[in-house]
């Protein structure tokens, strides 16, 4: 029983990490006032590039770097259109997702069915040998710790430093930030690139750690769930971490129930994360006080400086 519980907890952590990585990046993007709906596309390209780079070099670390680079490159395309060309952010984000999914399918065609390179778990001697707690706290792969470190870092920077104040100022009132002499477009470019890197990393996590292989559409809506998580967490980093782990738990419980075979159709259990996402959005969005307090006031609005 203990072993079973342990393995369930371990899979919950690996299922939650990609959601957390993708959504913490998008949280920073949205805090700066930009809505990038292309997370799903950047994740898909990150997954395929990470997989391919790891396969050709044999090194999962190079795979991770490739995944990040791919995410950043795609986000720059989004940034150029929405920030420099002042295009509609919703439509451009959708375009990024459509292009990303198409590109990933095309690039990954020759990778289908190939065995992947798996990112190994850290094995801190002595500590990871502690029964039960050891493997959970000290036996994860590197990116699990990285994801939590990013959350801590984002939380610190956003609310305890001047940089964070500038990012939030740009997101809450871009005209005031501009009048104070801050480069609204510059801050937003950096935020968008950070979000792209995180989304690419999340994709790389899927194809290098979660399931080390490439399957088309392997992101299966996780980028969209990440977007919903940001709303669910009302733009607060630690609440986001809790949300991501909650969603990971629900996904894995669905799978576990499927394995036990309790007579519920497997498709119904697979649709659980999507239905829960909708319910979470309903619960949070219905609470006006909570959302209004933290929603960046300029979210999704294009910035054109007054001349």
């Amino acid at each position: 029983m203990n072993d079973q519980l342990l393995s369930i907890i371990l899979t919950i952590i690996t299922a939650s990490t990609p959601l957390l990585l993708a959504s913490i990046g998008e949280l920073v993007v949205e805090r700066s006032g930009v809505l990038n709906l292309g997370v799903e596309g950047m994740m898909a390209v990150g997954a395929v590039c990470g997989f391919g780079a790891a396969l050709t070099t044999g090194s999962p670390l190079i795979g991770i770097l490739a995944a990040i680079a791919a995410g950043v490159l795609l986000s720059l395309l989004f940034g150029f259109l929405t920030l420099t060309m002042i295009s509609n952010q919703v439509a451009t984000g959708l375009a990024l997702t459509l292009l990303g999914l198409g590109l990933a399918g095309l690039i990954g065609e020759s990778f289908v069915g190939q065995p992947g390179v798996k990112l190994q778990n850290l094995d801190i001697p002595v500590l990871s040998a502690i029964p039960f707690i050891g493997p959970i706290l000290f036996g994860q792969d590197l990116l699990v710790y990285v994801s939590l470190a990013i959350v801590a870092g984002v939380s610190y920077v956003l609310f305890r430093t001047k940089t964070g104040l500038i990012i939030r100022a740009v997101g809450d009132s871009h005209q005031s930030a501009h009048a104070l002499g801050y480069s609204v477009i510059g801050v937003r470019y950096l935020a968008v690139m950070f979000g792209g890197g995180c989304a690419g990393l999340a994709g790389g996590y899927l194809s290098l750690a979660y399931t080390p292989q490439w399957v088309e559409n392997m992101t299966s809506g996780r980028g969209w769930i990440a977007l919903a998580l940001v709303v669910f967490a009302s733009w607060l980093p630690w609440r986001l971490a809790i949300g991501a782990y909650l969603f990971g738990t629900i996904t894995i419980l669905g799978f576990s129930l499927q394995a036990i075979g309790i007579g519920i159709p497997s498709q119904l259990l697979s649709s659980l994360p999507y239905i829960v996402t909708i319910l979470a959005l309903v619960v949070i969005s219905g609470n006006r006080a909570l959302t209004r307090a933290n929603t960046p006031a300029c979210l999704g609005q294009p910035f054109v400086p007054d001349r």
Partner: protein, 368 residues
């Protein structure tokens, strides 16, 4: 010297018309470069991809078959987007329509009258509307973001379809394949000859005719009625819309029921013609490609009709390029994505224009 965008005094009508054409040309140039990089003769490859689908009456029939769902959905999505209602779950509403309409042949396989046809199409529309009603209700009642809810429902619809055709609705004589019984006679769409054998012959099915009728009615709605004016005002100037007393809730309902219904119709038409039964994978992402159709068609119903053909060419060209050139048919989706990027970039030039600013001429902008 640097290049900046400057707001135009008024929107440029010339750019509004030119933008999709420029976008298509840029996509073709990009495509040519991609082909050249892969060691193919770019002109020959582009010919196979984009011109060959127009050269025989058979391929034109195929083109119409693929353009039909795109036009049906794209026209309605354009209306929604114009009113600032972001339904991006048309793929799910398409699936729901296909499921609802298939109730008749699955449960009443013996029913074979013209009424069968009408009932199936009506149920398809109702299914799509019912599925579109969910995000509309959640938006109005709980202000839940309709982009995310409508998209999540796509996965739910596809999983329900998967469960049905593998479980309760599976054809008992189907050798365990995940599909329902094949639809026959009145359970399929009738075809009409629109061009005589001397020129064609060219056959189109009922779905294509419904798509043209839908686009014309929507164009009338948008251009000639108060409802159309109301929708456009809410898109361009939401505050003005509120002062005019236009109900935002009603607009959300209207847009989702309209686009959901037409997506459902597109879904049932697909299973009643091309597919011929209910099975997983009834659509190669028509509901998503229709988003591109809506933008390429200037969010105008008639424009969507034209744009649907452009996107249908990319589907068909993708198939023939796979056979003739050995290029993956996945290239088509990349082209579609690139096209949407170019359209959005060019659309900026409707409201803005490029301006070169010399360093000396720039006003004092230093951080004093």
């Amino acid at each position: 010297m640097r290049l900046v965008l400057e707001k135009r005094a008024e929107r440029s009508t010339r750019m509004a018309l030119l933008s999709p054409l420029i976008a298509i040309v840029l996509t073709l140039v990009t495509g040519g470069i991609i082909f050249a990089l892969r060691g193919l003769d770019p002109l020959a490859a582009l010919y196979v991809y984009f011109i060959e689908p127009l050269t025989s009456s058979w391929s034109i029939e195929q083109l119409i078959v693929k353009a039909t769902p795109l036009a049906l959905i794209g026209a309605a999505l354009g209306v929604s987007y114009l009113a600032n209602v972001w339904n991006i779950g048309a793929e799910g509403q398409l699936t729901a329509g296909a499921i609802f309409g298939s109730i008749i042949p699955v449960y009443f396989p013996e029913m074979q009258t013209p009424l069968t046809l009408v009932l199936m199409l009506a149920l398809g529309i109702i299914g799509g509307m019912a599925f579109g009603a969910i995000p509309a209700f959640l938006k109005n009642r709980f202000s839940a973001n309709e982009i995310l809810t409508s998209l999540m429902l796509v996965y739910v619809a596809q999983l329900i379809l998967d469960w049905l055709v593998r479980g309760p609705w599976r054809d008992p004589q189907g050798y365990n394949f995940p599909k329902t019984i094949s639809f026959t006679n009145w359970q399929t769409l009738p075809s009409f000859q629109v061009l005589p054998p001397s020129i064609g012959p060219l056959y189109v099915n009922l779905g294509a005719i419904l798509a043209v009728l839908a686009a014309i009615s929507l164009a009338f709605l948008m251009g000639r009625t108060l409802k159309g004016f109301e929708l456009r005002v809410q898109g361009v100037a939401p505050r003005a819309g509120r002062f005019a007393g236009f109900s935002r809730e009603k607009t959300v309902w209207f847009c989702f029921l309209l686009s959901g219904g037409l997506a459902g119709l597109a879904g049932i038409c697909e299973v009643m013609s091309t597919v011929g039964q209910l099975q997983p994978g009834i659509s190669p992402g028509y509901g998503f490609t229709a988003i591109i159709v809506a933008f390429l068609g200037r969010l105008n119903p008639i424009g969507a009709l034209v744009a649907a053909f452009a996107l249908a060419i990319s589907y068909l060209g993708g198939e023939s390029a796979q056979v003739a050139l050995g290029i993956s048919d996945k290239t088509a989706r990349v082209f579609q994505g690139i096209l949407l990027f170019y359209i959005l970039a060019c659309d900026s030039l409707i409201l803005y224009r490029f301006k070169l600013i010399g360093l000396s001429a720039a006003p004092v902008e230093s951080r004093a």
